[in-house]
Symmetry: D2
Subunit: 397 residues, 4 copies
Amino acid sequence: MATGNRAVVFHGTEDMRVDTVDYPKLEMPNGQKAPHGVILKIVATNICGSDLHIYRGSFPVPEGMLMGHEMTGQVVEVGPDVEFLSEGDLVSVPFNVACGRCRNCRARHTEVCETTNPDASCAAYGFNLGNWDGGQAEYMFVPYADFQLLRFPDKDQAMEKIRDLALLSDILPTAFHGLMEAGAKPGSTVYIAGAGPVGRCGAAAARLLGASCIIVGDYDQKRLDLVKRNGCETIDLSQDVPLTDQIEAILGEPMVDSAVDYVGSEAHGIGSDADKLMPQAAINQVMDATRAGGATGVIGVYGPDPLAPTQEGKEGTFPLDFGKVWIKSPRISAGQAPIMHYNRELMMAILWDRMPYLSDMLNTKVISLDEAPDAYVKFNEGSDEKYIIDPHGMIKH
Amino acid sequence: MATGNRAVVFHGTEDMRVDTVDYPKLEMPNGQKAPHGVILKIVATNICGSDLHIYRGSFPVPEGMLMGHEMTGQVVEVGPDVEFLSEGDLVSVPFNVACGRCRNCRARHTEVCETTNPDASCAAYGFNLGNWDGGQAEYMFVPYADFQLLRFPDKDQAMEKIRDLALLSDILPTAFHGLMEAGAKPGSTVYIAGAGPVGRCGAAAARLLGASCIIVGDYDQKRLDLVKRNGCETIDLSQDVPLTDQIEAILGEPMVDSAVDYVGSEAHGIGSDADKLMPQAAINQVMDATRAGGATGVIGVYGPDPLAPTQEGKEGTFPLDFGKVWIKSPRISAGQAPIMHYNRELMMAILWDRMPYLSDMLNTKVISLDEAPDAYVKFNEGSDEKYIIDPHGMIKH
Amino acid sequence: MATGNRAVVFHGTEDMRVDTVDYPKLEMPNGQKAPHGVILKIVATNICGSDLHIYRGSFPVPEGMLMGHEMTGQVVEVGPDVEFLSEGDLVSVPFNVACGRCRNCRARHTEVCETTNPDASCAAYGFNLGNWDGGQAEYMFVPYADFQLLRFPDKDQAMEKIRDLALLSDILPTAFHGLMEAGAKPGSTVYIAGAGPVGRCGAAAARLLGASCIIVGDYDQKRLDLVKRNGCETIDLSQDVPLTDQIEAILGEPMVDSAVDYVGSEAHGIGSDADKLMPQAAINQVMDATRAGGATGVIGVYGPDPLAPTQEGKEGTFPLDFGKVWIKSPRISAGQAPIMHYNRELMMAILWDRMPYLSDMLNTKVISLDEAPDAYVKFNEGSDEKYIIDPHGMIKH
Amino acid sequence: MATGNRAVVFHGTEDMRVDTVDYPKLEMPNGQKAPHGVILKIVATNICGSDLHIYRGSFPVPEGMLMGHEMTGQVVEVGPDVEFLSEGDLVSVPFNVACGRCRNCRARHTEVCETTNPDASCAAYGFNLGNWDGGQAEYMFVPYADFQLLRFPDKDQAMEKIRDLALLSDILPTAFHGLMEAGAKPGSTVYIAGAGPVGRCGAAAARLLGASCIIVGDYDQKRLDLVKRNGCETIDLSQDVPLTDQIEAILGEPMVDSAVDYVGSEAHGIGSDADKLMPQAAINQVMDATRAGGATGVIGVYGPDPLAPTQEGKEGTFPLDFGKVWIKSPRISAGQAPIMHYNRELMMAILWDRMPYLSDMLNTKVISLDEAPDAYVKFNEGSDEKYIIDPHGMIKH
């Protein structure tokens, strides 16, 4: 058994390093025993756009924090109150830490578990949300394992599709949740703000669920090309044309049934404002792009942000065009996705080959743990790749 | 048959008068024939809080416009394509004008009918939303009558309960819609922002649907007393105590399952800000008061408002605490209520005596058409009465 | 600490006795440790209509089985993996045994937990469904306590309302579930087949949720009187009049929006068939009574029944009028209720006094453990009382 | 303008002929004027499996009735109360006749319109359900046209895809409805009973909505091959193996999330019973194949059938295994599909090329009106083709 644990550690803004830390224990962040927990040997652990919030300093975390919240791993140790998992099981870890015992977890709202983060209404690994160690590492501890973990039915089959299955920990269900909150269904017209990895998962999920016209808006042509060659329409937001005009040119109508913001408060404006940080830009765009009677999802993260350009933004207040859209009967849903709501079904869709376009849209790249710090730099510069760290060299190339 | 029609007419800000205008025809605002329409003799026609927006000038309408959108009436003339209504039928008019033929109406979104207002996504009588004459009058024209009108099954029974049934045209279904959008169900805890007539209908509707703890916030003690003596808790917003602290004092928890804004952009602050017009205050309060995993309804009207204190407000942009609530997974629904979604069932609840507290909570007062201009003045000054105009003296006193 | 445990034990058809058995341990039926479990001191434990299936022999169980599945109790011992409950907590036990860890429990379908009964898709205390000891006893073991148990927020307040709160373990949420499955909502018209305790809870729940016309059908006038004096309409099924005619006489229409079968396969016919056991009678009646576009709930138990009058009935096959109702677009939902879906909200409704009619409708009678065998006899003879056993004399009379 | 109208006419069991009848008028079946109606020139009109019920005599209709309920056509005449359709528009006709004005239509339950068939709760063209002339003809009358008809946005584009769009009138939305009622969603496992045209549409719709494992059961290898080569699994029901065993061999589990009966009461048994007419076989199979917590849709038609083998079957009573499935918490939905609920979105999916497999799965064959009687014979013999009649020779071959 391993005694140490190599992990990606936050050392300060734009300073990620691979350190050797202690091997994890079946213990809660406060030191209490966790008989319900397991130790995982990590098979795949991705770098996420929200890791960049930490990297850039817009989401402050303590120095020394272990990064990572998108993990797939193999069970190597089970606590005495784990009944339905065994050593060797290959599992996906939902990024929300959830107890399965509180009112919200019982109601499937695992994204706002009431117990796993005493300071707020939600918890996650590798954030400052409950002091849970992240999993960009060789090993990690996961509590409430019977409740939380999604076991793949066949390990060999799963390893064949691991690049796709690795997305089940966060961004594929997260993207899917945005579409569900925006009311997307077979035949819907969809606008997707942002062609980063989550937005591209949104495009893939929209295809899976049978959306008709899927339009993705971004500034980066390489990212847009990934979705364009896989059955989606694209809008170049650096063009100086109103969004609804661009939608109308594609769809014949200026607004869609379902629009989702996959960007959040690090958004920029359209056209001549494309270089300007405008924290409210993306959400106002998706509200604008949603037809009367449609719905809007907000997956992009909003919060008090020390790097925001205004005092209001630092406090989490944004100037929203709510009065302009009120007459359209807006329905707006936001927040973290309850991964467990969706990951099993999305796993089934992957295992039965219903998303053949997923890998190409995501443009996943498998890297070693040591390559992770560089990957943060490249991802922050706008790479069109989705990085999957393979700490033990278990993924076929 | 009558030849003229006495009606409440807008002559300018704070200037409503009763004029004699032409008797209505089976004609659309653009002059086309309306074989699907009927003429109603008005039995009850209420003054609504949103009529005050017009009265005060925050919702501009043309001089000479006929006021009123909360009508109950008797069919006196039917067009050649009306099959299921007959002369003498007593009916409730949903305030939304809806064709029953467009995509949104087919999908029960009559609040955003695509055809009855060529300028916007919704239409209403007695507003500048499609040029439909209002019904604070002796007679009115209603198009698409088979689709739109709710017939009371027994005229005599209905006249006995007419003060309650008169609320079906707008404020009772509107208030109920707010609760539905906020996810309220039996046992829910509910916060209601505003004890005006719609907020009081919200309190009554929350009782009907079996909510547990129903808390109403307002500044006006007389209005609060109406709900307090009918099974609700109250919060005096002029006290300098944070809203969540006041909720916690009542409920034992600082936030509720479902919170509804029945105020809109004419809101004021809390405590020392109670005298200050703060257009974003009510919506921020209800988002603040909603628990993680709960939902928020916004029935209060937001829109570009020429009387708003800021340029942003004039354009319909509001500084919302969206970042502060994003972590709670907010679900926010806003806009006009699709009255037809609810009015039939609420009628049944009234007819079977399931809302015995309704009249007392609303404190309805029946007045003549000539008393209407004065009632606008009193309502604007904060009266705790709900005015029902009885143009033909048909309602028992 | 107690060493023995007095409990109601099944000794054979129509033979219930109070025996002294072993004090419960934190152990699963198969003898494994249950660190997630607790021991409860029982405060209230009701006799249920489905206990009569065992009593009569239509649901076979092993001799020596401990009876009871409707328990309210006080925590007296907690396992090492119980985090959110403490000694002294007063809790309601959902009658479904549910692990909180399987696919169905994660999806809120605790009524079909996949792990707590290896022989079937559901488990319950005091049945032959997973070998769980029942709780008509002084003490009992409950597994997965953090997940399963509903804690009352204030013990003294709860003891004041214990007769109502005792119904949260099964029949009130069960009855409510039937209405939800039948699509009941504010203003709905409702038909309730059966005025036994669950049917009467259905009537009470229909009132809570704001149903308009609530019609209850039964043969027993005493039972019907309990609902009639609390705001419901009644139908005497021993009259020789078709059900839809009787509904029409009350409602003005022959069918209701929502109909629920609270009877099951021990049903009798209507009128001249009132004395005849007709296992399919109740479900055919509720399908008949549901309007096109409405929905039907089947809470009454159907299953292979050794006492059924036909071979088909013994095997669980029933002659249903499916072809007669297909044209009405029937929606039929059946099965056990997932208690945890509803018990928290119904507790809140009780605690905030929203069901003042509940006690009178149910006609609850508190008895000692020693009186339980007699109560089985009386209940089987059609008593209009709902028996609550108080094993420790803790309930005020 | 045409003066006569050539149409497929029912002359008796197994006797369909093409006759010349009167050109249609803007008139209701009872002779009243229909200002809301249009006359269509038929472009495509399919033969449906339910037409075979009439052909065989299991659904009795009057001699001389015009057949057909799956029409696509061009508007050639509009009534004076038609506002949103013009001559030349190409439209799909939902097979349900629906007024858009009654309670059920207002609630989107157009499949149980309360006014268009005075004898029952639903109406359809070309059946004995309201006396509406069918549309296997050159021309037809459609009432309530603004409400009912789905206009294709671009006529040329639509004519390119007319073989797929012709399915929007009935079988594609009908099949989709079955899946919705069975709770199917992305990732669901699905069992489809029957590989006739509707079952094959069900398979196609399951692919569209992202189902994972889609299993189709039938006896006819040619029909099964059509779905097998388009991404579905198949079960040969003539094999003597229990259905759940066959499902388990494919899926690894014996039951699916969603099972839909696309067969109805003309079903046969499994294996050695494959040659035996067993009216209850299909519905019992789909209930058996549905997992606990799943749901079952019943699209196949059940009703009183004069050809049924038993007296009970003639009256519409079927021996169902309800007791065997009650413990699985069954949810069963049946009846005609409300086409308007789905046709617009499915049209969008077709227009945006999201169902490239549809034509091949359906194996559509375009025929002339004169070939229709022969096509009835072949279809009745189990052809694997779906016949589209092209009365004016407008469809490209």
